[in-house]
């Protein structure tokens, strides 16, 4: 029997390659594309945190937009009203706001519901958050909050103004990479393994001594925190926050990234976010037809390729070189065979 090598080097190499490509991007494309690349980096975090909830913990949420909106508004309000608060602390507060909101919703939603009922409850809470934001003067009502400044990054012996050029974009890329690394580490940790146990068979997990509800609440809070940071990163990038951020349509995006890229692999949602952005960019001048083409493509991929783009790629790779593909796949949160089962299992667990 051979001992599996640690999956960390492969993960770190992939992450370093992605970060390197993202940081090199401004040298080759115009500032409009750089801005969109920043949005993609944030969408990657949204997709990965959703997939952590879905594929690792088996929880199907339709209300993730509530947490990203909460994080975005927390960052926006702090940058506008308390500019002396260090930005890293602002992001931590955004994460905390996302996590606390997730716990509040999770405590109620996870008490008696599971599967699709849980999903509908998260959707309802998200719509509640949307309505509260749109009707509260403090949050700028329907107009939202505009003019959110790019922050200054203060550290012990100096400060970096993230306003000029592509500095804030670079910060977003690095921050997104750090959140990605943390999500991966949690997925690989003991907590991640117990979450997978809960997802696969909650009754057996409970029998083995795992507090199923507590684990699910922890997963919901972690995903809420990561989603909150993603929202917090987005506010200074776009320089505005509006109630649309909490709209149910925003909650569908991480689901689409996950289904498009593949729920069965850690990097699936990242691939999904990238492909989604590429399709949107490619059809940007086809007004009206753009949404139709994007929707049709997504539908086609989801129906024809249930494992997502990356799932298919892994299967093809395995067919060509079984040994290499197994090595490449080691350390993923769920094998494709499990993941294809994970989708319905996640909904029914």
């Amino acid at each position: 029997m051979t001992r599996d090598r640690s999956p960390a080097p492969a993960f770190l190499l992939t992450l370093a390659l992605l970060v390197g490509c993202a940081l090199a991007l401004p040298a080759f494309v115009n500032r409009g594309v750089v801005f969109m690349a920043g949005i993609v980096a944030i969408n990657v975090v949204l997709g990965l945190s959703y997939n952590f909830l879905f594929s690792t913990a088996g929880l199907l949420s339709f209300g993730q937009a509530a947490f990203s909106a909460a994080g975005a508004y927390a960052t926006a309000l702090l940058l506008l009203n308390a500019p002396t608060v260090p930005f890293l602390l602002v992001l931590l507060i955004s994460a905390l706001v996302g996590a606390v909101l997730a716990v509040l919703i999770g405590v109620i939603a996870l008490r008696r519901t599971e599967g699709v009922y849980f999903a509908i409850l998260t959707l309802a809470f998200s719509e509640l958050v949307h309505a509260v934001i749109a009707k509260t003067r403090f949050f700028g009502r329907n107009d939202g909050l505009t003019g959110i400044p790019r922050p200054t990054l203060s550290y012990g012996f100096g400060a970096i103004d993230l306003g000029p050029g592509d500095r804030y974009y670079a910060f977003v890329v690095v921050a997104a990479a750090l959140v990605t690394a943390v999500l991966w580490w949690i997925t690989q940790s003991r907590l991640g393994r117990s979450l997978r146990a809960v997802r696969l068979d909650p009754m057996r997990a409970a029998f083995l001594g795992i507090d199923v509800r507590r684990r699910r609440l922890q997963a919901f809070a972690i995903a809420g925190a990561a989603t909150g940071i993603a929202g917090g990163l987005g506010a200074p990038l776009t320089s505005l926050v509006s109630p649309d951020l909490a709209h149910w349509a925003e909650s569908t995006k991480p689901i689409l990234f996950t289904l498009l890229g593949g729920a069965g692999t850690f990097w699936g949602p990242a691939v999904g976010a990238l492909v989604y952005a590429a399709v949107e960019y490619g059809t940007r001048s086809l007004a009206g037809a753009s949404d139709l083409i994007t929707g049709g493509l997504l539908l086609g991929v989801v129906l024809a390729v249930p494992g997502g783009i990356l799932g298919v790629a892994v299967r093809l790779l395995r067919r060509r070189d079984p040994a290499r593909s197994r090595a490449a796949e080691r350390g993923e949160p769920a094998a494709p065979a499990v993941a294809t089962r994970a989708a319905p299992a996640g909904g029914a667990s």
């Binding site: 500032r31 949005i39 107009d143 505009t146 320089s239 940007r284 001048s285 007004a287 009206g288």
Partner: protein, 416 residues
């Protein structure tokens, strides 16, 4: 063989010559002037965006046919803002990245407000074609966003017109959607009533608290019965599009407007097109009513618009797009440059000709002063379209526009 000294001297001389006026090359090539048009081209506001799109195209074609701007043609690039601030700012940034620092076309107030900091940060300009929020030229004023059409003061003009036309109607209420646009419409209309009724009729109007309705409501019957009990003889409506059509249709059996004056904020022909001869007799604001404007420019624009689209009843947003495109043309001609700072400087205080007559952009807050238009629509059973415009007026903008207070909230009169 060329010596090293000659080569150095030639190179330095060429560099010096090019550095004197690098724009000579640009001027000689007649390269197109690039203008980005970001407006809703899909979703619920697409019907407005289609007027902006066609209006901008027709305006650019007319300018290009007349020789362009100092020989340079206008080239429009369109993007769909989907009436969503995030989507709008994304496409605006994409266009900025492609060199489209001059943009126009926003409709939604939220989007127009979001553009202020964006355009300042990215060194661009946006000319909004219909956003109604007063914040744009007051507390959220930025030098890079201009409203080339009528702003909040249109409701003050409509209030003044009501005082002139119906001096005996001194009690007013409203049906107001409970969101930013609705509240602004009501607040500014009340401000106008409280100024112009005493000034023109010597009477102080009675302001009855409006009925606030949720946005996108499908059932207005409870609100209608609530309004039926109101003693107000004048009603201002700020519901919009499909909401307004539903409200008017449901109010019909109750006879809500039988003995009341109905002043609609800005639906133009939207409700009339939907309800045809079921539409109640009402007044409505318009950005540009083609039959009300007899200038050669307005008539030529109307003819070209009909020829291009086949639509014989274009709505006012087409006129606002014409005003925006021609404002850029006039400002670029004045500045002799498409540079952002130069165009901003040229737009401030600019007076130029549009389909509604000359407009002037107030330099202090980037708000255009223009004639306001109000039209009366009533049912016309037996006709093709089922309704007719039975009256229309133009109200000069200068006497009704609020003072310029950029960076500060707009001061409004409120009912005690």
């Amino acid at each position: 063989m060329i010596s090293r000294r000659a080569l150095l001297a030639g190179g330095a001389g060429s560099a010096l010559a090019l550095s004197v006026n690098p724009r000579i090359v640009v001027g000689q090539t007649n390269e197109p002037i690039k203008i980005g048009v970001v407006t809703p081209l899909s979703g619920p506001q697409e019907f407005i965006g289609s007027f902006v799109k066609s209006g901008a195209e027709v305006a650019a074609e007319m300018i290009n046919k007349a020789g362009g701007v100092k020989g340079r043609p206008l080239q429009l690039e369109f993007r769909d803002e989907k009436a969503n601030p995030a989507a709008a700012t994304t496409v605006a940034r994409e266009l900025l990245g492609l060199g489209y620092n001059l943009q126009l076309g926003t409709i939604s107030s939220t989007v127009a407000l979001a553009y202020g900091p964006l355009m300042q940060q990215e060194n661009g300009i946006n000319l909004t074609c219909g956003a109604g929020t007063e914040k744009l030229n007051h507390e959220n004023y930025t030098s890079n966003v201009f409203r080339v059409g009528d702003g909040t003061y249109r409701m003050r003009a409509q209030a003044r017109f009501m005082a002139e036309k119906y001096p005996e109607v001194t009690s007013w209420t409203g049906i107001i959607p409970d969101h930013e646009y609705g509240r602004t419409v009501w607040a500014v209309f009340v401000d106008g009533l409280l100024e112009f009724y005493p000034a023109l009729t010597g009477k102080t109007p009675t302001i009855v608290p409006p009925v606030l309705v949720p946005y996108g409501s499908g059932d207005y019957r409870n609100f209608i019965t609530q309004m039926m009990k109101s003693p107000a003889k004048g009603v201002v409506n700020a519901t919009y599009g499909g909401d307004a059509a539903t409200f008017f249709q449901q109010a019909r059996p109750y006879g809500l407007f039988r003995d009341r004056i109905l002043m609609d904020a800005a639906n133009e022909f939207i409700v009339a097109n939907a309800l045809k001869d079921q539409v109640p007799k009402h007044w409505t604001g318009s950005h540009w009513y083609y039959a009300n404007n007899k200038s050669q420019l307005s008539q030529d624009f109307y003819q070209a618009y009909v020829a291009k689209t086949g639509n014989r009843m274009p709505m006012g947003w087409a006129g606002e797009a014409q005003a925006a495109v021609s404002a850029y043309a006039a400002a670029i001609a004045k500045a002799g440059s498409t540079d952002t700072k130069a165009v901003i400087a040229a737009l401030k205080g600019l007076t130029w000709d549009t389909v509604t007559g000359p407009r002037t952009i107030r330099a202090e807050d980037n708000q255009a002063i223009k004639n306001l238009e109000v039209i009366q629509i009533e049912p016309a059973p037996g006709t093709d379209i089922g309704f007719k415009v039975s009256d229309s007026v133009q109200i000069p903008g200068a006497p009704v526009i609020e003072p310029a207070t950029p960076g500060q909230k707009m001061a409004l009169r409120t009912a005690s």
